[in-house]
């Protein structure tokens, strides 16, 4: 029976009381110190939609409330319990146990920041004489005549956003890293994104971390709007050696 795998927990744990994908009940399949959190999958090939992504996420958060969990990436389906034991639990037991120990008492917090666009555009124009000049030149020109000027202007503004984001991202990470165990910096997904970073934070230091985030938010008020997500299972901080 194909099984959808949500993550790995301690062998003596219990399945959270939430539904799995397609309404299937969650089941723990244990192998000594480690266990896989699973549910029977509708088939070996799953066509997943938005609801399933949400379910995956919610199952993991419920598991986090109960203890340490190493999240799987979305979409891992094993053909049967035997394969699950063989390919995951038995093969990687030592690594998984070590990883569970490492993640014990820690959570992931993601910090995303979006630029307040008008404020940053003003910053950019004020800070770059060439952009200011191009702006003046192109503002008055009719559509066709100013085309290439506007293109150049827009390209420079886009580049300025990116450069600014590099600086701002580094500054935010520097401000928050002292309060975290580890940090993983994500890609700037679009122009308006000032920062996109995940932090691994000890629960015992969460209040301290939160205060630091508030402080960054306060300093950046009007420029960057921060968004804080968590506590989450440590998606960005788990790894596994490539299975043979």
């Amino acid at each position: 029976m194909p099984r959808y795998v949500y993550g790995v927990v301690r062998g003596d744990g219990s399945a959270p009381a939430v539904e799995g994908i397609a309404g299937a009940p969650l089941e723990l399949i244990a192998a000594g110190d480690v266990a896989a959190l699973t549910s029977v999958a509708p088939g070996e090939h799953l066509e997943a939609g938005r609801e399933d992504l949400l379910t995956h996420s919610r199952v993991l958060e419920a598991a986090l409330e109960q203890g340490t969990v190493l999240p799987m990436r979305f979409g891992v389906v094993v053909p049967d319990e035997g394969a699950l034991r063989e390919r995951l639990l038995d093969q990687h037991r030592d690594q998984l146990t070590a990883e569970l120990d490492q993640m014990e008492g820690k959570v992931e917090i993601t910090i995303k920041g979006l630029y307040e666009e008008d404020a940053i555009l003003r910053e950019i124009v004020a800070g770059d004489p060439l952009i200011a000049r191009l702006r003046a030149q192109t503002a008055s020109k009719p559509e066709a005549a100013g085309y290439y000027g506007r293109l150049e202007l827009g390209e420079r503004v886009a580049a300025a956003f990116t450069a600014l984001a590099e600086r701002d991202s580094a500054a935010v990470v520097e401000a928050l890293s002292p309060h975290a165990t580890a940090v993983a910096v994500g890609a700037q997904v679009h122009e308006r994104m000032a920062v996109n970073a995940s932090f691994l934070v000890e629960r015992a230091r969460l209040a301290e971390f939160d205060r630091a985030v508030e402080e960054v938010g306060r300093r950046q008020a009007g420029r960057i709007r921060l968004r804080y997500t968590g506590p989450l299972p440590p998606h960005s901080f788990v790894e596994l050696g490539v299975a043979a």
């Binding site: 799953l46 938005r50 990436r73 891992v76 503002a139 000027g149 580890a182 709007r225 968004r227 997500t229």
Partner: protein, 170 residues
């Protein structure tokens, strides 16, 4: 957006940071699709209705369209007295309607291209709700299809791509 500087608390905790403890899909989409453990054999899931583009963090291919819209956004700024005004005064100068709603629309298209389904953009919904109340414009015309970004997708679950950096774990 005109109230950005005098930011009111988002609810609990006193402040300047939007919290989501019960995560909307947008908040965790990147994490659950890209991070986490993966075993090599058994990913047999196809995603329906959700367009996932890959983005190369080092090479951002922005379309001509994006540049033109940036130029438009910059040209629509009211910069009278920029040197002498402080930020709060500048904020008051931003018109609620036209200019800010258009400049917001400009870059939303990029996110839509990345995330496809706009239900997942809870972040944008919050942004819009906080500001002038303009509804988010779906740039169905050009930006969604023409703005292309490519990110190297992670080959394994170990997150070894150079677009992400890690500091040492203790």
């Amino acid at each position: 957006m005109a109230t950005a500087v005098q930011q009111q608390p988002y609810g609990g905790g006193g402040g300047y940071v939007a919290r989501s403890s019960s995560s909307g899909l947008y908040d965790v989409l990147e994490l659950i699709l890209d991070k986490g453990l993966v075993i090599d054999v058994f990913v047999r899931v196809s995603l329906i209705g959700i367009e996932i583009l890959t983005i190369d963090a080092r090479i951002v291919i922005a379309s001509v369209d994006t540049y033109l819209r940036f130029a438009e956004a910059v040209n629509r700024l009211d910069l009278m007295g920029t040197e002498t005004q402080g930020l709060p005064e500048l904020m008051e100068g931003i018109t609620e309607g036209g200019a800010s709603s258009k400049t917001k629309g400009v870059l939303q298209g990029a996110k839509e291209a990345l995330f496809g389904d706009d239900d997942e953009d809870e972040d944008d919904k919050e942004d819009e709700d906080e500001g002038s109340g303009t509804t988010r414009r779906r740039s169905s015309s050009s930006t969604t299809t023409k703005t292309k970004r490519r990110r190297r997708s992670e080959a394994s679950g170990s997150g070894s791509g150079s677009s992400r950096g890690r500091s040492s774990r203790s």
